[in-house]
């Protein structure tokens, strides 16, 4: 029973949404809209679950004084502070301040760190010698310098870059997109047909 009910729900809900995707029918549309509303609500509850999971994991780590429990204290404190401010001060200047001057700079700076990692990766991987490194080197430099030309010979490089993007890169990415789409269809059908049950 415990295994059959979730599988049945997955099949019925999935089939209804899939039919609504391909067929035009007022009844199906209404059913599909309601099912999607449910998915939206469950998606929001998944975010709450993420918070619950974080609290449970880090509380356990602190209680048992496991390695790195100091970091867990910081994570828990930040999560609780963020949650309380968000719940209590929603749509107030305090909440806007919290977002703009605490959360935003933290996330934006973490994104900015990517520059150093990518630079290191480029210096390490774009190496003349082997086929892979040589191709990466040539194409990488053309795109890097050709994306923002300032005139002169760099304009010629920009033309090469535009051709690279419009023909070989486009074709390769299209192949990847097709491959990914095929994989998505296969995996989705496996879930709907009970061959895979990731919800157990």
């Amino acid at each position: 029973m415990r295994r059959v009910v979730p599988a049945l729900i997955a099949l019925v809900a999935g089939a209804a949404v899939l039919l609504d995707f391909f067929l035009e029918n007022p009844l199906l549309d209404a059913l599909g809209a309601s099912l999607l509303d449910g998915a939206v609500i469950l998606g929001a509850c998944a975010l709450l679950l993420g918070l619950v999971n974080l609290l449970v994991v880090h509380e356990r780590r602190i209680r048992r004084r496991e390695r790195g429990w100091g970091t867990s204290v910081v994570i828990l404190a930040a999560a609780l502070a963020s949650l309380i401010v968000g719940l209590v001060a929603w749509q107030t200047p305090a909440f806007a301040w919290f977002y703009r001057y605490l959360l935003f700079p933290l996330e934006a700076s973490a994104g900015a760190l990517l520059a150093f990692a990518v630079a290191q990766a480029a210096v390490h991987a774009w190496r003349f010698g082997r086929l892979e490194g040589s191709l990466l080197l040539v194409v990488g430099l053309v795109v890097l310098l050709g994306s923002l030309p300032v005139g002169g010979w760099l304009n010629g490089l920009a033309a090469v870059r535009d051709w690279l993007v419009a023909v070989p890169v486009l074709a390769a990415v299209r192949g990847l997109l097709l491959g990914v789409a095929l994989g998505v269809v296969a995996t989705g059908l496996r879930v709907l047909l009970w061959m895979d049950r990731p919800y157990e």
Binding site: F104, V167, V185
Partner: protein, 225 residues
């Protein structure tokens, strides 16, 4: 030029934001307690914030609708109950309660993904790939069309046919052709990877430039905005 900040919410906030920015960016010199502290703050704050937004933006308005008209919005009652069951996933003793909610989420998600991939990507992209093989237009257009066909097919074969040997004369011949074409696809994949890596580098540099601009302009007022 540089001026001491005003004791306002924005002034204090700018200094707090600058301190947090420097805390995280200190990882550029090497991982340290400061950068780890910054990351820990981010990890916790992001999750707490997302939960608060989920409550206020999605759940609470729907709870109010149900409170105002329970019968008129009875499906919402069902979905909210399923959502409550989903939270049981966090408890090891009662996590089985969430299986129904997860089954629902996976079922709807899989259906949307299958429909979208078929109608939104597979069909249009195959059609576009065929349309790109337009006859005429000169040798340059023909050469580009040939490259498009070789690269798209080669990448697909590279993804699909790895280590396939084939049986029979026709099977073996096809396996050899697929292998050779797949190796050509591998070269085009490398070209795409190089271009994408360079584009990621440009994006990342822009993100770093934006933080430095904040520090120099908004915090230290070294340059007017």
């Amino acid at each position: 030029m540089f001026a001491w900040p005003a004791v306002t919410a924005e002034g204090i906030g700018t200094w707090v934001a600058a301190a947090l920015t420097l805390l995280v960016l200190s990882a550029a010199w090497g991982e340290s307690r400061a950068s780890r502290l910054g990351m820990a703050l981010l990890a916790g704050a992001a999750v707490g914030y997302a939960a608060a937004v989920a409550w206020h933006a999605v759940l609470w308005p729907r709870i109010l609708l149900v409170r105002a008209d329970p019968l008129g919005h009875w499906p919402l009652v069902v979905w909210l109950f399923l959502g409550l069951l989903l939270l049981a996933r966090g408890l090891t003793s009662a996590s089985w309660l969430s299986n129904a909610s997860l089954g629902y989420l996976f079922g709807v998600g899989a259906a949307l993904a299958v429909g979208g991939a078929l109608m939104g990507t597979l069909v249009p992209q195959v059609r576009a790939a065929i349309d790109s093989q337009v006859p005429g237009g000169g040798w340059w257009v023909a050469a580009n069309a040939l490259i498009l066909a070789l690269a798209t097919g080669g990448v697909l074969l590279r993804l699909a046919y790895t280590g396939w040997s084939g049986e029979g004369a026709v099977g073996k011949a096809w396996a050899r052709l697929a292998g050779a074409w797949g190796r050509l696809g591998y070269l085009f994949l490398l070209v795409a990877m190089g271009a994408l890596m360079a584009a990621v580098a440009l994006m990342a540099l822009a993100l770093l430039a934006a933080r430095l601009e904040f520090l120099a302009v908004d915090w230290l007022h070294l340059v007017p905005r």
